[in-house]
């Protein structure tokens, strides 16, 4: 089993007729993902790629197609509204790819989502990949903007705040012949729907996931929070990396959430917390997969695995 979605999960795309949304909807279709609907207000009735029906509202799309998960590709000014529309339609999961949403909007969305059944991943994230069994992992569930071909079906769970660093880790794993159960990009914003800890708990409970790669970066304390839980409860080997050790304090490093402020959120503090939790830290992101392999071997030798 994978976490969050399966290869046959029915997906709808909010913003499917925009440049960004249509490009990635097509790539997901090419990958073999069950993209069953699109939503663009005012364009209901169209067909995307000659087969995917486009609806005016998310509720209509859900009722007509049975989609349970949505990916949001709408511009930042409309993204909060799109997330709430997905929640209102009773989706299980909303994955918001959009970058640049005002923090104030996300703070309100998160407060409004309390008590709903919907989980949010992102915003400002690459999305999720559950590799399929075909060539280049074809036949999997790709929701978002990650490249499909780098994935390979297997037993390592990957969770990360950064897109390209995720691809680094996944590609290394694949080249070493280690596949992935699920790859989750939780996004680089300061206020997001799903944390490292949320995903780590799911990986810990997932029988198909045997080991984990956790990638973080400066800013906030989500990595420390996850490390504290891992130290006590996580049964699976983890390798990790934290980006931003050389970032100057007080500057936002590309991601809205990647900032060291008031001496908090440093790479050093995160790395120490992760090491204390038994996570093997990769000295450079080029050796993430290798670090995991060595960590597993060491644990086996010590009789701990």
């Amino acid at each position: 089993m994978s976490i969050l979605v399966k290869t046959d999960t029915k997906v709808l795309i909010q913003g499917i007729t925009g440049g960004f949304g249509s490009r990635h909807a097509q790539l997901s279709l090419d990958y073999g993902t069950q993209v069953v609907a699109g939503v663009t207000p005012g364009k209901g009735g169209l067909l995307f790629a000659d087969k995917v029906p486009v609806f005016d509202t998310v509720t209509e799309a859900v009722t007509e197609t049975g989609a349970t998960v949505s990916a949001i590709f709408v511009p930042p000014a409309f993204a909060a509204d799109s997330i709430l529309e997905g929640v209102d339609a009773g989706l299980d999961l909303v994955i918001c790819i959009t970058e640049g949403i005002p923090v104030e909007d996300m703070v309100r969305v998160k407060a409004a989502m309390k008590g709903s059944k919907t989980r949010l991943i992102g915003p400002n994230c690459p999305g999720i990949v559950v590799p399929g069994e075909g060539e280049g992992s074809h036949g999997g569930c790709r929701i978002g903007i990650a490249p499909g071909y780098i994935n390979h079906k297997g037993h390592v769970g990957v969770v990360s705040r950064s897109g390209t660093l995720t691809y680094e880790a996944v590609w290394q794993l694949t080249k070493l012949g280690l596949g992935q159960s699920t790859t989750v990009g939780i996004g680089g914003d300061p206020v997001n729907g799903t944390s490292h800890l949320d995903v780590i708990k799911m990986f810990n409970d997932d029988p198909e996931t045997e080991a984990i790669i956790m990638i973080g970066e400066i800013g906030g304390a989500a990595e420390e929070e996850a490390a504290a839980w891992i130290k006590q409860y996580c049964k699976k080997p983890i390798a990790g990396f934290i980006a931003g050790a050389t970032a100057p304090p007080g500057r936002r490093m590309g991601h809205a959430g990647a900032i060291v402020s008031g001496g908090k959120g440093t790479a050093k503090a995160k790395i120490e917390a992760m090491q204390d939790a038994g996570i093997a830290i990769a000295e450079t992101p080029s050796v993430l997969a290798e670090t995991l392999v060595k960590h597993i071997e060491a644990l086996k030798k010590a009789g701990k695995l």
Partner: protein, 398 residues
């Protein structure tokens, strides 16, 4: 985005946050007129730059201090003349300092008590939090470390907004009574309304003062605005002072590039913020010093890559460049074309290491090889970082 103190004062006035009266001036003559119009005997002249530590700063012309008391319009003019057009160096500006283009002439409040007040985002709770302290005028992190019991935190429900009782709790925690209690309660609520209405990420008042006359006033303020929300605040964008920003960063933003200048000698050009940070870390790990952070994004064009090279090379400290691209969706051949065009155009005065991985990587590598340009190829980020550090060292030895 940051703003000047006089602009913060204007925002306070708009939202009803009590603050001392004042006026901005760009010339000594304007400063004199401003002082006369204010009609106050005790004044203070403050250099306007986007950096703290002004009071203890030094001008490059030898004049001490970016904040001075004055009592007559003539005196104000004299002080303004010593500040305007001069470069002020503080512990936050770095040795280069900042040119003072404006001064702020304000009422000098007689201070009875200094307090602290700030509103910011509590990331763990995903909600705004108001922080108050009885220890004003000091570095709040030092207060938090030494006397955490003197710091009070009041989280605000994002959908309800601030409730009057929460402002009363904070005013009480600050030890205020009677008229001051009422004034502080009003000020805190007004400040929260401002924080939300203008999409601030930080409003910090340090110090919040109780004057000798018994009034509660916001004496100095630091603002940060959420860059993601600027599209809906033309009035805030109008406050932007590009002369206070790194010219390279301003130029980069025109091309949708995310560039931050640093002090090192090895530049990097990367796609993705996390990978860009990791690339900087790797340069340092293998013995170099990163000259910048640069994320070209996921859909960089040939033109943007060329612009990125020019910006990088405008930094005279740069002795080598590392390009690190993981082309997930972004095709490596397009990046390669951008690099080749940029190298040909800029004549490339320093060594360049390129690491390409991902989509169409073989075509990309072939294009670079066939271009016969002096580009060193690398197989991984670690390999690339080692190669550029070595190339820069060799360059120095030669």
């Amino acid at each position: 985005m940051n703003i000047h103190e006089y602009q913060a004062r204007d925002l306070f006035e708009k939202f009803g946050v009590a603050a001392p009266r004042g006026k901005m001036a760009s010339t000594p003559e304007e400063a004199e007129i401003a002082a006369r119009e204010l009609g106050i005997e005790k004044l203070v002249v403050k250099a306007q730059i986007h950096a703290g530590g002004r009071g203890k700063g030094t001008f490059k012309n030898g004049y001490q201090g970016g904040v001075h008391a004055a009592s007559t319009p003539a005196e104000v003019k004299e002080i303004a003349a010593k500040m305007l057009g001069q470069t002020l160096v503080t512990h936050q500006t770095g040795p280069a300092g900042r040119v003072v283009r404006k001064v702020y002439i304000a009422e000098a409040a007689g201070i009875e008590k200094e307090l602290y007040l700030a509103i910011l985002l509590d990331r763990a709770k995903s909600a705004p939090v108001i922080i108050a302290s009885t220890e004003g005028g000091m570095d709040i992190e030092a207060v938090a470390a030494k006397t955490p019991e003197r710091i009070f935190r009041e989280p605000i429900h994002p959908l309800l907004g601030i409730q009057p009782y929460q402002a009363r709790k904070l005013a009480h925690a600050l030890g205020l009574k009677g008229q001051q209690f009422s004034q502080a309660t009003k000020l805190i609520q007004a400040m929260y309304r401002l924080f939300v209405a203008e999409d601030c990420s930080l409003v910090e008042v340090n110090p919040l003062v109780v004057t000798k006359e018994g009034n509660v006033l916001a004496l100095d303020a630091k603002f940060n605005f959420d860059d993601n929300a600027l599209y809906r605040h033309a009035e805030v964008v109008a406050l932007r002072d590009e002369t206070e920003e790194d010219a390279r960063e301003v130029e980069a933003s025109k091309y949708g590039l995310n560039y931050i200048g640093l002090d090192g000698n090895i530049a990097c050009l990367v796609n993705g913020a996390g990978l860009a940070m990791a690339t900087m870390d790797n340069i340092k790990y293998f013995g170099g010093e990163p000259a910048n952070f640069l994320d070209v994004g996921g859909s960089a064009t040939k033109e943007a890559v060329a612009a990125a090279f020019k910006i990088i090379l405008s930094d005279k400290q740069v002795e080598g460049i590392l390009v690190n691209i993981f082309g997930g969706i972004m095709r490596c051949d397009i990046i390669a074309e951008g690099i080749i065009a940029a190298v040909q155009e800029t004549k490339l005065p320093v060594p360049l290491v390129v690491r390409l991985e991902g989509s169409n990587v073989e075509i990309g590598k072939k294009l670079i090889l066939e271009s016969n340009l002096p580009v060193i190829s690398a197989d991984s980020l670690a390999d690339g970082a080692q190669k550029i550090v070595a190339a820069v060292k060799e360059g120095k030895a030669a």
